[in-house]
Each structure stands twice: as structure tokens, then as C-alpha cells.
């Protein structure tokens, strides 16, 4: 089953040219942390049944669709209408941040499945130019997921980081809640909530203690 395109609002350009759309969290909480990559999928694009993940129509409620056409020099892809899913993507791939081996249980990506483009403008490269835009656009052909990575000033590093993040996204896309990426993120969120709850409890206890002290003084 395809996403019901009619139910979705039409794409509109951002209110002010050049404005960056506000990123939102997967969990729906206020925007936070690093907008390291933008993830893009086609609007109502056809996804062959065998590639469609089983959770495709159970679109997680925490996914927030925003409409934003990125200025990417990708003439070969210009026929696609892209809709951006903005994730609160951490500065480093999440599994690396958690100190785990990033390639252990994730679906592997082969170079044949990937299409890469550097957003560096027109004209020849090499010594004759000094272009500084080392942004890398990486596309996973089977799932139509692509992302832009401009985390560092080195094109090699951006390529490496883009691949790591794309691998996580593809794994999440195909495995859904079975994905290690999803599980770790949930665990992290749970830990954070637990920490918040404990901090709140401590604050309450301190408050009560102070009140009791004041009562004793009287």
C-alpha cells in the first residue's frame, strides 16, 4: 500500500528564502542537538512490495514531515519531488556515540547500491579551483533514502560519516522496531527520562527538607 498522497498537504517553499526549517525531534520534544544531515524520501514514490518494510504504513507517530526543497545540484534527480524527514541526528552516528561497533548488526550497504555526489558547484576541479563546499550527498538507490552530510571540512570524512549515518537509516527503514538503532535510541530516551525523574525527586526531597528545617526553627 502506498502512502495516501491525497491526504498529505501540498509542498510549499519555505516562508523566507534561505531560511532553514526548524528541525524537530523524533520524540516530538523541542528541537535539540545537531542537524547534521537531512534525510529525504520521495513524495508518494513507488516502493516495490518486496522492498517495502513491513512497518511502512504504520508510520511512527514521532516522524514529523516538513516540506523543504534543498538546494542540491542533482540534475539527475530533479524529476523526484522530495519531502524531507528531519531527524534530530546526533553529531556522530548514534551507535558510535554509544561506543558500539557501528557495523555489527546493521544491514550492510554495498557501493553498487549507493550514489554519491559532491555539492561543489560547476566547473573543473583539481588545482585550478579552490572550492570549499565539501558537502556530500549520498543516495541509497533501493530505498530512495538520501542524505546530505557537511559535518566536517574534509570531503573524505564527510563521505565516511555519510555512509555510517545512511547505514543506520537504512537499517531503521527496513527493520523498524527490530533495528538496533531504534532499540538503542529507545534505551537512551528511557535513561534520560529516568534521570529526569530522579532529579525531580531529589529536588522535591530537598524542598521538603528545607521546609521542615524552617518549621523546626520556628
Amino acid at each position: 500500500m502506498r502512502p495516501n498522497a491525497a491526504a498529505l498537504p501540498a509542498w510549499a517553499p519555505p516562508a523566507v528564502a534561505g531560511a532553514r526549517p526548524v528541525p524537530t525531534c523524533i520524540s516530538g520534544s523541542p528541537r535539540r542537538s545537531v542537524r547534521s544531515c537531512l534525510l529525504q524520501r520521495p513524495l508518494g514514490g513507488f516502493i516495490p512490495d518486496k522492498l517495502r518494510p513491513r512497518f511502512c504504513m504504520n508510520v511512527p507517530s514521532f516522524f514529523h514531515f516538513t516540506f523543504f526543497l534543498r538546494e542540491v545540484r542533482t540534475p539527475a534527480w530533479s524529476r523526484w519531488i522530495w519531502r524531507t524527514q528531519q531527524f534530530s541526528v546526533p553529531r556522530v552516528p548514534s551507535r558510535q556515540a554509544a561506543g558500539k561497533n557501528s557495523s555489527s548488526n546493521l544491514l550492510g550497504l554495498t557501493e553498487a547500491e549507493l550514489k554519491e555526489q559532491f555539492v561543489r558547484g560547476d566547473g573543473p576541479g583539481g588545482q585550478a579551483t579552490n572550492k570549499t563546499n565539501n558537502c556530500v550527498v549520498l543516495k541509497h538507490i533501493p530505498s530512495f533514502i538520501f542524505l546530505q552530510c557537511h559535518q566536517t571540512r574534509s570531503v573524505e570524512q564527510n563521505r565516511k560519516i555519510a555512509r555510517e549515518i545512511l547505514q543506520e537509516k537504512v537499517d531503521l527503514f527496513y527493520k523498524g522496531e527490530d533495528s538496533d538503532v531504534f532499540k538503542e535510541k529507545k534505551a537512551l530516551e528511557k535513561k534520560k527520562q529516568e534521570k529526569k525523574r530522579k532529579a525531580k525527586e531529589n529536588l522535591e526531597r530537598k524542598k521538603q527538607f528545607k521546609e521542615m528545617q524552617q518549621l523546626d526553627k520556628k
Binding site: 535539540r32 545537531v34 588545482q127 572550492k131 570531503v155 573524505e156
Partner: protein
Amino acid sequence: MRCFTHPLLRRLLGLSPQSVPGGPSQSKGPICSPKWSSLRQSCSARPGLVTATDAVNYWKKVFETNGIPEARESSEYIVSFVLGAKTFQSLNSKSLYTPLTALQQEQIQQLSNKRLERMPVQYVLGEWDFQDLTLKMRPPVFIPRPETEDLVSLVVEEESWKCEKNSDLCFPVSVPHPVILEIGCGSGAISLSLLCKLPQSQVIAVDKEKTAVDLTRENAHRLQLQDRIHILHHDVSLSSAKQLLLWGPLDFIVSNPPYVFHEDMASLDAEILCYENLDALDGGDDGLRVIKTILALAPSLLKDSGL
């Protein structure tokens, strides 16, 4: 953003952009570098407060008005640098919308003024990334190009392929200690990257420019690699190559020599023509002058299995 419909900006955009063929040598300065006070006034939603995003958009407009190429990228790199980050995309949302201090605004202005003189961003910031290293950059030493990162990866691949071949042949394999010569080291990007990726390697880096030798030495010290690199002020086309054999025959000779056709030199961007050492680019009439010199030297320097 609302502040950029301010009349000041409309006046800015109404001025004709100034072409800058000769870079800093021309008599007229950049068009209209408005003071920060104008920017602060223009951000009416938050009087007196300027955020990183405001600054990027503001300086992007200023660069565009003055015909500076890569206006957005330049302003993003400058603002990110002042905030302690590598790229704008790597800043967190808190940094993007926190008001900049007066010192930060002053620093951004100073750096942006240099960029308005068509100074390359790498020289403006005084540093740049090459693979996973951050290296100091200083005019007129040649700025490493992104394509050169592929060259380093190729050498590393070749070395690992050689090691695999040796282990397949069941030779008694001790840890390999490849000796590499880099001709034309510039800022030391290739040499220092190879030293990091091949921990047992040693490098002899040569350059005919003293400024390049000094900068490579400085970068080597910053990365604590000075013990494994020998940097020589040496012109391979003029001087004897004997001193290049101080560690014996070489496993690799690596270089990003000048290869631009001499007739194309005049059409290079102002950033390159005015600030970089043109000897690092000019490859002569056929672009092969230095390359031929290196190829002629190679047989006398390399091991039988050398590349």
C-alpha cells in the same frame, strides 16, 4: 528572516556588484561593509542581539553584493570557526540561536573583511581539514585540494595490498616500515596523513619553497609527528637527489606536483592568483614539467618494488 527586509539591506542590494579581478590590489574597497550596529538595529525582533544564523545570512548578503564566490559557504565557515566548530551543519540548535558576544561579532567582522579581499577561506581561518587532520594554512603555501585526499587513500591501499601479498607468499613478515618521499609537500597534508594512516612509515618531505618547509615543520610538530618526518628545503629539478636517500631506497614517491597548463594560469580565480604560490600550480606548456622531472628521478630512488 524579517530583519533582511530592512531598508539597509535593500540599499545594499541596490548597489551594483563590484568585479574583483585583481583582488586586493585594486583602489576601491569592498562595497558597503555596514557596521555591526546596523545589523543589530536591523534585527528588530531582538534589539541588540545577533545570532549565528543572523550573522551567516548577513555576511552572505555582503559577500554576494561584493561578488565573493561561495558567499554562503564562506560566511558559514567563518561563523562556525568563531563558535569553535568546523561547519555550520555541525553546530547544535542552541549555538545557532544563542546571541553572539561582542567579541565573537568582532572576530567575525575581522575575518569577513579578509574574505572581502578575496582571501581564500583557508587562509582567512588559518587552518583547514585534510582527511581527519586539521592543518595550519598560511599564504602563499598551496592549499591542499579535496581530490588529493584520494591520493592518500590510494597509497594506503597499495601499502596494505603489498603487505597482503607478502603474507600470502609466506615470507617471514616483520612489521613493514615503508619509506615515502613526498615531492612538493606544501603544508604537509599528504605526508602527515600518510604518517597517521601508516603508523610504521617514515617520510622525507621536500619543497623548493622555504615557507612550505616551515609550515610543514610546524604542522608536524603540532601533530607530534616530527620524529618520523624529515623535511628538506630542496629543489628536485636543480639539486642532487643523494640526500633523498638518507633512509635508503624508497617504497613510495608521492606528489601533487603543479600540472596546470601555463596558458590557463591567467584564468584562475582571484583567490588563487593573489594569494597562492603560482609555482605550485604552473606545470609549464604541457603541464608536465615537474612531473617529468619526478619520473626521471624515480628509478634512482625507488626500490625494485617501489611505486
